[in-house]
């Protein structure tokens, strides 16, 4: 019922905003207001359903049935759908509130009605992807999502960069849709039906080769959507150029549709997994996590940096899912459930904190009109609330206790570290290796956000834009506040939230773990099995709060006696500190650039012109580049080969009607001969 209201609200929001395009204010209020209403309904619906547990699996509802019997649009809400509906609704709610303020910046410049209308449509089709009950519904919603997102990526189409990003996104979306379609056709052929119910466990009916082919197709297809390395190249290009609220939606929710697809397909449709599926997924996740964060470190475009972090976090999620598949193979269902919980928990966590960070970046972008961090600085004094919320997001994404990123990464560690004992084959080495890489990722992410927060918000403003920055409007702050609160809640009360995951793991892996994961009346989180560790974010928080007075007390006792002297900061003998002396983003990341030289292939050029002596240069030109390894080493050769092939094939296009007819004729005769 509530879900119906949510969907109707999205439809109404879309129609309303598009119909009132002429009156920007009305369109803004109507569009984003109804979207927020829909989001709120969705949150309540999914939380209530998940809390109710078993009874929630509803019968499939046919929305539309076509003239051909198999063509029907069916929705079906089970626990997994509910969980992802929760993600899209929660993030959608916060972004809608934020957008209400953010869209004002487009008044008189762009069509706000279209922005709000398409935004509602996006929420609608994303929800439909999650609750689709048969292939028609799923694929149609999936394609609509890609098309609408393309429209939003190219929303600021006056900008050449946005147009190119849109085209790249479009091409990659087509590729992923093609892979997914092929994979589903393999499954549907065996099932003889298109409903998800009949695809359940269909893998058992397929030959091993067909299953493997289907798995690889799905991994590629959903992997492109999720942004798994090396299929990620569209993500750091397309996410930053969209309007910031859409970036938040894309990074927070859209790429999760890839995760949803993988979970749905691998745990429900494809049947018992061979070892190498899970191992491949774990390896892909590890590579994505490490490379994602390394590339993020090198960025000084705030939104691109966040986009690369999405790749990293998708990698972490895939590590959990891959480990879960491996445990299913070895028959350790409890551990599989634990790893699955880790992956899903990180999915919602990433949705929340990445959306928060993108909204923060949007507020900063709105205030400074630049995405280049080297032109920011000093914003903490000018945008107090935004910087606080951004800090919360940064702490969460860096997996520092007591916020939510820590909880899910801790669960991932638990499952990886306990995985070593589950099998005796050499594959078990992947578990500790994955754990080590996850640790590296966490540390690098923390370094990256020290840079992102420090360069953006601290010290002195580096440009006039930053100097004249102003705090974001109230709706924008409320939107960020909702997500920051969610970060804190998911971090401090994981045991409360884990209960909501029970129906999901029951559905996918046959176990409910929230009891085993909870100790001491929900105050402590445990690692599910006897070997698992325990941790309490609440305890850490309490400790932090209790320890806070200690330095104050120490100060009160000892510092009173010290002599206080007020003097300028040491400035190397120059007179007064200027922004030019500040640490730059490029400078901050230089040590890491040197360590990972083999990957980044940095190139720098210094040109110096001087009259008398090289020490007194008249002009100095400095350039620094990094090779985009994936573009130059993988994508470019493929694209060039494609062009070469196309040029050859152009000979077929002779322009002669007879020639075209002959092609058709020869094909027809050849097919007839083939039939003989």
């Amino acid at each position: 019922m509530l879900l119906t209201i949510a969907l109707v609200a999205y439809v109404a929001g879309m129609a309303g905003a598009l119909l009132t395009q002429r009156a920007e204010r009305v369109a803004n209020a109507l569009g984003f207001g109804l979207a927020a209403l829909g989001g709120a309904c969705g949150v309540v619906f999914s939380v209530v359903s998940l809390a109710a547990g078993q009874a929630m699996t509803s019968a499939p509802v046919t929305l539309w049935s076509g003239p051909i019997p198999a063509v029907r649009l069916v929705v079906e809400v089970d626990a997994l759908s509910c969980f992802f509906v929760l993600i899209v609704s929660l993030v959608g709610l916060a972004i809608s509130i934020f957008s209400f303020g953010y869209a004002r910046t487009y008044y008189g410049r762009k069509n706000v009605g279209v922005l709000a209308g398409v935004y509602n449509a996006l929420l609608l089709v994303t929800t439909l992807v999650f609750i689709a009950g048969n292939l028609w519904m799923f694929l149609i919603a999936w394609e609509l999502m890609a098309l609408l997102a393309y429209a939003m990526v190219s929303f600021e189409h006056e900008d050449r960069e946005a147009r190119q990003a849109g085209v790249l996104y479009f091409i990659m979306s087509h590729l992923d849709a093609a892979c997914i379609l092929l994979g589903f056709l393999v499954l549907a052929q065996a099932a003889g039906d298109f409903s998800f119910a009949s695809l359940h466990g269909i893998g058992a009916k397929l030959s091993p080769h067909q299953r493997d082919a289907a798995f690889l197709l799905f991994l590629c297809g959903f992997g492109i959507k999720a942004g798994v390395v090396p299929l990620h190249i569209w993500l750091p290009v397309a996410h930053p150029v969209a309007p910031s609220n859409i970036s938040a939606l894309m990074s927070g929710v859209f790429i999760k549709t890839g995760i949803y697809g993988l979970v749905r397909v691998c745990f429900e449709f494809l049947g018992p997994p061979p070892m190498w599926w899970g191992a491949t997924m774990l390896a892909a996740g590890t590579v994505s996590a490490v490379l994602g964060v390394l590339y993020a470190l090198m960025e000084h475009d705030l939104k691109r940096l966040l986009a690369y972090h999405s790749i990293e976090n998708i990698g972490i999620i895939l590590m959990g899912l891959g480990a879960a598949l491996m445990f299913l193979h070895t028959g350790h269902e409890v551990l599989a459930s634990l790893a699955l919980i880790a992956g899903l928990y990180h999915t919602i966590n990433h949705a929340v904190f990445k959306a928060l960070l993108f909204l923060g970046a949007g507020a900063v972008l709105h205030a400074t009109h630049t995405r280049n961090m080297e032109e920011m600085g000093g914003l903490a004094k000018r945008m107090r609330w935004t910087s606080l919320f951004f800090l919360v997001g940064a702490v969460a994404i860096s997996a520092l206790p007591p916020l939510n990123g820590f909880v899910s990464e801790w669960l991932t560690y638990q499952s990886l570290l306990q995985g070593f004992g589950t099998t005796t084959s050499l594959v078990r080495l992947m578990f500790p290796l994955g754990g080590a890489m996850l640790a590296l990722t966490g540390a690098l992410a923390a370094a990256c956000f020290v840079k992102a927060f420090g360069i953006t918000f601290l010290a002195q403003p580096r440009s006039d834009h930053a100097r004249n920055a102003h705090e974001a409007s109230l709706p924008m702050l409320v939107g960020q506040g909702v997500l920051a609160a969610a970060c804190v809640f998911l971090g401090l009360f994981p045991t409360v939230f884990l209960k909501l995951l029970d129906p999901v793991t029951q559905q996918l892996a046959g176990h409910q773990l929230s009891q085993q994961l909870t100790l001491a009346n929900g105050l402590v989180l445990a690692g599910a099995t006897a070997q698992g560790g325990t941790v309490s974010t609440l305890g850490i928080m309490l400790m932090a709060v209790c320890l806070l007075p200690v330095p104050l007390a120490l100060w009160a006792v000892f510092a009173r006696r010290a002599r206080t002297r007020i003097a300028p900061t040491w400035d190397c003998g120059q007179r007064g500190l200027t922004p030019q002396m500040e640490y730059t983003a490029t400078g901050f990341s230089k040590p890491l650039r040197m360590i990972f030289k083999a990957l980044f292939r940095p190139r720098r050029e210094v040109q110096r012109e001087y009259d008398f002596s090289p020490y007194f240069a008249t002009t100095l030109r400095f350039e620094s580049h990094m090779e985009e390894v994936f573009q130059t080493r993988i994508y470019r050769p493929v694209i060039l080969g494609l062009f070469r092939l196309s040029r050859r094939l152009r000979a077929l296009q002779a322009g002669s009607l007879q020639a075209y007819l002959i092609y058709v004729f020869i094909t027809l005769v050849a097919l007839l001969l083939f039939a003989l």
């Binding site: 296009q653 322009g655 002669s656 009607l657 007879q658 007819l661 002959i662 004729f665 005769v669 001969l673």
Partner: protein
Amino acid sequence: MHPPSTLEVGSQIIPLMATLMLVVQLLLIAQRMLLTSIRLFAIQSLLLAGIAAVVAYYYNAGHVYVVAVLTLVGKVIFLPWLLTRLVHRIQIHQDTEPLLNAPTSMLICAALTLLGYSVTRPFTSLEKLGNNTLAIALALLLTGFFLMINRRKALTQVLALLTVENGVMLAAVALTTYGMPLVVELGIFFDVLVAVMVLGILVYRIRENFDSMDTGKLDQLKG
């Protein structure tokens, strides 16, 4: 139902008329005068209408009469009239030399007919209107296609397309006792009608712009 003897008569008349359609098709391939070609097409369509009428009569399939009447009105009377008028308007009465000369064309058509027979052999048991009708339908389709490739004038190509369509209709009537559902038949019929009218206009335009209706000149449009 009719007694078996009459049914037998029907199942002999139909292959006979179908074979005549194929003969007309071969004449069409050898024919270069446009007006004569149009008349040959009209005769072929008349034979098709006759087959439809025979099927309708012997198998009590009332709606196949509709097909017969439509074929008669459309393909025997209206389209030939339209095309004849077009020939008079554009003042071209003869097709240029085809790509392959008549003897070679005949050999190729013989080969295509053989192909039609060998491909349809597994299906002859499905036919209820005597053997070979389906094979002839396929042969009509293939030779019609060949005719389309072999000629250069747009108008002959239109005629070739129409003979292909005749082949399809024959197959439809031959394969099933009652023909295809009436809706499908009507759909095909109007498709062809509209296609020919559009092509007629195109032929006229090509003639206007290129001073010829040789479709070979269309490659000048290539970028």
